[in-house]
Symmetry: C2
Subunit: 146 residues, 2 copies
DNA sequence: TGGGTTTCGGACTGTGATGTCTTAAATATC
DNA sequence: GATATTTAAGACATCACAGTCCGAAACCCA
């Protein structure tokens, strides 16, 4: 687990980026996803379920079923995924854990951390997941296209 | 809790910065610390105990006892505190949670995240806690000097 | 229609972080 | 030496997160 996101969130990102490499509308099963990515089967099921609940993904039961993006990959950013799972509190919280984070009552690194928060946010929205997936050099994503 | 550090770590930072405002060698009790900072009494005790175990703090029992910095405030950085509690894995881990983080097998944001990790590390070591504490504008730290 | 496949939903367990409580040990003061 | 005060240490409780399991529902295909 990185310091930024929960496990769930990391798995969600990994899964969504995998789906982004698939032809539009094609369904991908949890089985295929767990075969490529190192994620517990049932746990991933729950996570994708949750994402489907928010509309970020669509799902279909049955033999040809699975999951697919709920809208075009060009219209989804990593922030959408992170926000759906972990929320966006990190854009507002003090890095030292003080109850208030504002310029009126700042901690020692308020300004510095403020800039970094912005950079992290920017990292999450600068590119859509279509570009992101294309930039992914991880071997796990080789020939995801079927 | 911020996205970077555990609660324990946040409390440790808050406590150590408070101690950094005290005259060198003066002992500060958990009671005084919890009166200023919003941290559970016994939990803070455990944390300071742990920091004392690493030598970052010294402690003394008895009526005039308490905690104090183990070395000069000028020779301690926030990274020392973070490293003692949360460790330094964040300098090595993939932000998307992939098992490997290297340029040979990079994820979509490997380079970007690499720069940010460096910036975070830099934020933690750029200033010593003497300067940090002085820069702290939080009301909790007003007139910490006794 | 029936059987196999897949997601759905909920209950359940495991684990680590957080927080509480109690007793003991050390220290200062009287 | 007696007492009060403070940290030390460990057991315990609580909670959130991670992960598992199972039956039901939806779906496809023969
Ligand atoms: S007050 Fe600490 S980051 Fe804003
Ligand atoms: S591989 Fe993802 S940050 Fe390095």
């Amino acid at each position: 687990m990185s310091i930024l996101f929960s496990r769930q969130c990391e798995y969600a990102i990994q899964g969504v980026l995998y789906l982004a490499l698939k032809p539009e509308g094609e369904m991908t099963s949890i089985k295929e996803l767990t075969k490529r990515l190192d994620i517990p089967y049932h746990f991933l099921g729950k996570i994708l379920q949750r994402l489907a609940g928010t509309g970020l993904l669509t799902s279909l039961k049955g033999p040809t079923g699975g999951f697919a993006l709920g809208r075009k990959a060009k219209d989804i950013t990593l922030f959408d995924v992170v926000n759906a799972i972990d929320g966006s509190d990190f854009t507002r919280n003090c890095v030292m854990g003080f109850p208030e984070c504002s310029g009126k009552n700042p901690c020692s690194v308020h300004d510095t951390w403020g800039r970094m928060r912005d950079e992290i946010y920017d990292m999450l929205i600068r590119k859509n997941i279509a570009e992101m997936a294309k930039d992914m050099k991880k071997t796990e994503y080789r020939s995801a296209r079927s």
